[in-house]
Symmetry: C2
Subunit: 822 residues, 2 copies
């Protein structure tokens, strides 16, 4: 019936149901006599759990009424739209049942990650059996009425999704987009020495790049400091319409592949329940014993060879226990069992009859009492209180999150006697503060980087810790450390996924990345933002620490690495998500970066995107001024403007957001002050990009009246922007003065060149900004024709210089405020 | 000197240079006596090539003058900014040299993929030695002057990037963002039975998820139909600042990992040139012999067991042959050799001296004659003509691309007697046409899908082909085929990367994907778009076929899969790229989808993004009408409007883009026609989103006058849009009537619900559109207060219905144009 060697059970054989080769329903099975670690009572009990969870799963997929089959199934009992994926569910329920046995016997502190897509019915069922569902959702009690409500809400309007989600008790992993289960599991285990994460990985998911790379996350798991991940590769052979690669390579290749990733796999295979239960119990025992030995050796012994961690390959039929044949097509054990095995159950009498027999094959009358409550034999298997995986607070990280011990950022600020008098590498200054953050929070703060920590100038962190590394350490390796608080791996997916897992389980962290390559995790960001948004609406979820990005080596200073390294578009992706969740900051100098990051590390439940340069650049604001400016999020820099007195209206507003645009804007302002001293020039700097949005569109949005005061209602605004210019238009198109908003930003004009040539290529340079002013301020074009020509000439001169010398012209490279750079 | 067991060579020992433990320069080495496949002459010759390429690589990184060291190095000979990564270059040059030997001996048709980042100097050097550089760039002849120009342009303003790029002869792989080398290699090999792809993978790149997943691309490579990929894992141990995982796991684990991926690896390790040359020659011979056997068996024998393909693990020191020690720090063989080993060579006399000794250690006087031309011993190693990897037309795919044989799409169109009278699944209709495209183009058209071909309703393609699958085929697998023209793997990265490789080497294809999950390849799209943009400026590159996306299962019909599956933001990412490159189409029905796709498959050098639904939906336009409408890109649907006579100005414009927004707009128009018969309503449908852009911003941009004619200059426009609403504002903010543009689109309001509830959640539904009209058209609010209340009530009724019944209210689900759905 399936492609697996049967071991004597009879789950899949059947001779009832619709005849004539049309459809065959499964029949109730008896547990065969197979020896193993489970005695008969244990075997019977664990199988009862599995049957109960499977029954409850099938019920969720199909039924909107008659949950206990107290009457024959009628069309109106069945949902009009049948959703959810049964194929993976029996495997999930099997793992949960066996995890519970281990939790009880070993007093494990464990959580569950369901990797396979749309397997939600399984964890929902287990959480209901454990009572958690009813504790968290009082309208879904653990009885017949509650079972009906549990069934009805599944994949139903106003109900819960078909995959694990924020609504799922015990889940900190969204099962919507595939590829991240193992990363979330490892992220949860970091700094959680007593935790065991049972992580089920679907063989479909295993084909994704992020999952394929994440097997090596074990190179960062310290058996002394961290908890354990027990990966269970659920090899049920099929995706929606295709077999899976890992199920179609010879088993010896699969074992080699997993060994090569540093695991010692145990294969559990079969389609006879008793056989699989015994094998699974033995495998789980064996794996947990091995984990115990590895952890004891690390915690009480010497630093030995890197551990080879145990894992399980679970090879069972797709849709195990579902109808073997429907309408003449084999279902159980084939790709057709992936989703809903009986899609016409509502309207087709024979499908509905098979469905009823299928449900009854789990013998619900043995599992639920007259009130629909689980029988004591099932309840006995539920771990106590928080030890239930569905109730473990680790999976509701906001319950556990502690404030960071943050050093006063002001003490790490740079001295600024006058604007522009000194230069610093902003991210290096931040690195000094992050070093102290790391030192003061030795067990709940981590920094992640794709081999870019030092490149992004955060290497001062390494003064108090090393880079986490559990593989071999070579003679010339530096700063590697078995207990390092920095995780560097050349995979943005791994950095993002591990950090997500770490945050979702109640800790804090930073991900620093080259700006252009953060697009690699666009999709992961999207999913995390959706999780934050959806979980905010779940009453029992508590806010978690924000996901903090520090993007450096940004578009304007990737001149030397060229076009492929120039992309500020992550901001556009971020701003598509819910305003309540996302924040974007563009601090113009070192002190504003410090102040911004202090704010980010105190915040909860946001995604904070901070873009900052690593090159030496002018310090504009002192510590107190930076604090005020960042608190406001944007403001007039009166010292940089000209004749811009309070209450007056300037002739032109020079707005800027981002460090390089700010530099160019100030250099332009200096020219205007010198050459057009009568012109009233206002300089507005924007740190918090969200302030540009209308107040009713974002919590940080500036009220229109204040916006109009800053940007005027009718004067030209020359806006020098870090990213793609239309982003500013998208943020401000509702503002009074939007028609006068002229934005310069990155327009995909890039090449291998110099920093100043990069801004010239995109017309964001000081000279072009001056030209923009001359072109936009009424009557100035004629009056300042000479200055305009000077600007044109200066651009040509600067361009020619770079072509000849390979670096920027000295009047630009050595410019300092408030000189005129000509 | 390095961490490798030395085999008797003396490349790394030295006793000249700066003393006092400060800096040590390498000294010239002699080839040791090591037996192997190379006789002494061959060994000497191949080593000469390697030295020449290394010399030319170091020269590119450092020198702007004095390329042949005809005088002592002075500061002004050295570039002010030292860029490029030397660490990986000797490995690349070694592979190139040995590939050339194989090409000559075996008359191979071969191309080269340089995976390691910033390794550009190597392939540049080899292309110059082969003469291709000079053929393509006449200002860089193959002599001393040309050498000087080659050096000076590298990573210099106006010059070439530090990684392989469109400017690099023989490269079809951009080396900027890491992770895609093996996918591009496999994509090139598909349908190229005579091709061999030498693909060098850096051990840094190997940590990325996309690369980790792509080892399994061999499951889709048919040794009969396709060419071969020879992966060379360059294990030089280090990234920028860290060791690599694959270099720090035990070798037996590495071998198991690669075997588990279906490869039979040969390890070449050492730091003695002669030893490595002999081992490498033997390894390349062995691998190519094995490939030959596999291909012969497949082409002349029976369908045997899936092949285990050969590959090479090349374990040599990072920065091999560079200074072993600089300023007291070990360099060669450590992470410090990753980038520029002597960063102060211009200003620091001892660094400059070491640099000069380093350059002279390659003995340039033996390699280049008085004119600076390569000596005959080097030229003898250059393969003939197009067999040079730097000149192979496969790497300039536009040279090879042939027009597809396209069936007439009109014959596949659906009959439309009247608008909205019938329904079809648009993508299924397209599938019928693509079936014929597949049949007529059996060797240069492929379809890629992440297990979503049938889900996206393109399964008719499987009537004429199967799914490519080279692993085991199981009893219940269907439509798998060793020569299938559909590649399905649950990895968007693999689909995208294989298709890119296939297109870049001159073929055609389609990638169909769920809309939300296409974000997984945002970064890959960005890089491909940048390649297209940059290559258009390279005179010898020819336009390649467009990259065609078909995004279905889109945001509005992912109601059942819930919030995680709802994301139309790929359009925003796409529109950030160069207008010349990107196209976005939102065909509203089956015939417009056919017409659009016919256009896409005829186009060149674009990225075409087409979003279309797979659910049964109204056919609006007949074949002739669809042809006209798509040719225009947008237009008035007079039959849908009311009192909208030519030359008149309507009271309101209902604009729509996307199939579901079009449906809702027409349902709203029907209500308005019935209830407000005096209102002049214009319906404008947009297929080609680019037409909304100003004419000076995009080649498809509509001139302002035409835009104003369609959208009026002052009447309210209610725009129902497929994606995030602000995208329409970003496209239209310069238009006269932008102030009256009111856009409804997706606002991240999603959940598990029904199709109509999804549009209601985002205020894009017919009832809300009518309310928008009432609220925006002057004086209508009072006059139509009753209708407005009807709309409010209808929304509540529809919402309540879904909550109770789990499906849409019949008056919506069964609505047909031009009924009123109340």
């Amino acid at each position: 019936m399936t492609q697996m060697a049967s071991s004597g059970g009879d789950t899949s054989a059947d001779n009832v149901g619709e005849r004539g080769g049309v459809s065959i329903a499964p029949r109730p099975y008896r547990l065969s006599e197979v020896s193993g670690p489970l005695d008969r009572a244990e075997l019977t009990a664990i199988d009862a759990w599995w049957r109960a969870a499977n029954y409850l799963s099938v019920g969720q997929i199909y039924l909107m009424k008659n949950p206990l089959l107290r009457e024959a199934l009628r069309p109106e009992h069945i949902k009009p739209r049948l959703l959810g994926h049964f194929g993976t569910v029996p495997g999930l329920n099997l793992v949960w049942a066996h995890a519970n046995r281990a939790i009880r016997r070993r007093e494990l502190n464990a959580v569950f990650v369901a990797g396979p897509g749309h397997g939600g019915p399984g964890p929902n069922a287990c959480a209901w059996l454990e009572g958690t569902y009813s504790e968290l959702y009082s309208h879904i009690p653990r009885d017949g009425a509650g079972m009906g409500a549990l069934f009805a809400q599944f994949s139903f309007p106003g109900g819960v999704p078909s995959h694990c989600a924020p609504e799922t008790p015990g889940s900190f992993h969204e099962g919507g987009e595939l590829g991240y289960s193992l990363l979330h599991a490892y992220g949860a285990a970091l700094d959680n020495p007593d935790l065991t994460v049972f992580c089920v990985i679907g063989d479909g998911e295993a084909e994704t790049g992020p999952l394929a790379g994440s097997w090596h996350a074990n190179k960062f798991l310290n058996p002394g400091r961290d908890g354990a991940v027990l990966p269970i590769l659920a090899l049920n052979q099929y995706k929606i319409a295709n077999p899976t690669i890992l199920a179609r390579i010879p088993e010896h290749e699969l074992i080699e592949l997993l060994r090569g990733c540093g695991y010692e796999p145990i294969v559990v295979a079969g389609d006879d329940p008793a056989t699989v239960h015994q094998a699974m119990a033995a495998a789980v025992d064996g794996c947990l014993d091995r984990i115990d030995r590895i952890q004891r050796a690390a915690r009480f012994g010497a630093d030995g060879a890197p551990a080879s961690w145990p894992m399980i390959v679970l090879r069972t039929p797709k849709g195990w226990t579902c109808p073997p044949v429907v309408d003449g097509d084999p279902i159980e054990g084939t790709f057709r069992a992936h989703q809903v095995p009986l899609p016409a159950a509502r309207d087709n009498d024979s499908h509905r009859e098979v469905l009823e027999r299928w449900l009854r094959s789990y013998r619900p009358e043995e599992l639920f009492d007259d009130a629909g409550q689980p029988v004591p034999e099932l309840l006995d298997q539920v771990p106590a209180g928080d030890r239930r995986m569905s109730a473990n607070p680790v999976a509701n990280g906001g319950m556990l999150v502690r404030d960071l011990r943050l050093p006063d950022w002001r003490e790490f600020g740079v001295e600024v006697a006058a604007p522009g008098g000194t230069k610093h590498e902003a991210t290096r200054v931040l690195g000094g503060w992050l070093r102290e953050v790391t030192r003061r929070n030795p067990d709940n703060f981590l920094t992640f980087a794709p081999d870019e920590l030092a490149s992004n100038r955060l290497q001062d962190i390494l003064e108090v810790t090393g880079r986490d590394w559990q593989a071999e350490i070579g003679e010339y390796d530096v700063a590697l450390d078995r207990t390092g608080r920095v995780i560097e791996v050349l995979s943005e997916h791994m950095c993002q996924g591990l950090l997500e897992g770490y945050l979702l389980t109640g800790r804090h962290g930073v991900f620093t990345c080259y700006e252009a390559f953060i697009h690699i995790v666009d999709a992961m960001f999207n999913q995390h933002a959706k999780w934050l948004d959806a979980s905010a609406a779940v009453s029992w979820r508590r806010p978690i620490a924000s996901l903090n990005y520090l993007l450096s080596s940004h578009v304007w200073r990737q001149d030397h690495n060229g076009f492929t390294h120039q992309d500020p578009g992550f901001l556009d992706v971020v701003l598509n998500k819910k305003p309540e969740i996302v924040r974007v900051y563009l601090p113009p100098d070192a002190n504003t970066l410090l102040s911004t990051y202090d704010h980010c590390l105190r915040s909860r439940h946001y995604v904070n995107v901070v873009v900052a340069g690593k090159q030496p650049q002018e310090d504009w604001l002192s510590v107190p001024d930076a604090a005020v400016h960042c608190a406001r999020g944007l403001g007039i820099w009166e010292w940089a403007g000209n004749n811009d007195t309070v209450g007056s209206t300037p002739d032109v507003v020079l707005a800027c957001a981002g460090d390089v645009p700010t530099l160019e804007t100030l250099a332009a302002a200096a020219i205007l002050r010198d050459r057009l001293p009568d012109l009233r020039v206002r300089v507005v700097n924007v740190v918090d990009l969200m302030r540009l949005l209308p107040a009713d569109e974002h919590p940080h949005g500036l009220p229109d009246r204040e916006f109009d005061t800053l940007f005027t209602t009718d004067r030209p605004v020359i806006f020098a922007f870090h990213g793609y210019p239309w982003l500013v238009h998208r943020l401000t198109y509702r503002r009074t003065n939007h028609g006068e908003m002229h934005v310069r930003g990155y327009k995909e004009e890039g090449t291998t060149t110099t920093p100043f040539d990069m801004v010239m290529l995109n017309d964001l340079d000081r000279y072009h900004l001056v030209m923009d002013v001359i072109d936009r301020v009424p009557d100035l074009r004629e009056k300042a024709a000479g200055l305009r020509q000077e600007m044109v000439d200066a651009r040509w001169k600067a361009r020619a210089w770079t072509r000849e010398h390979g670096e920027d012209i000295p009047c630009v490279a050595e410019w300092s405020w408030p000189e005129v750079s000509l």
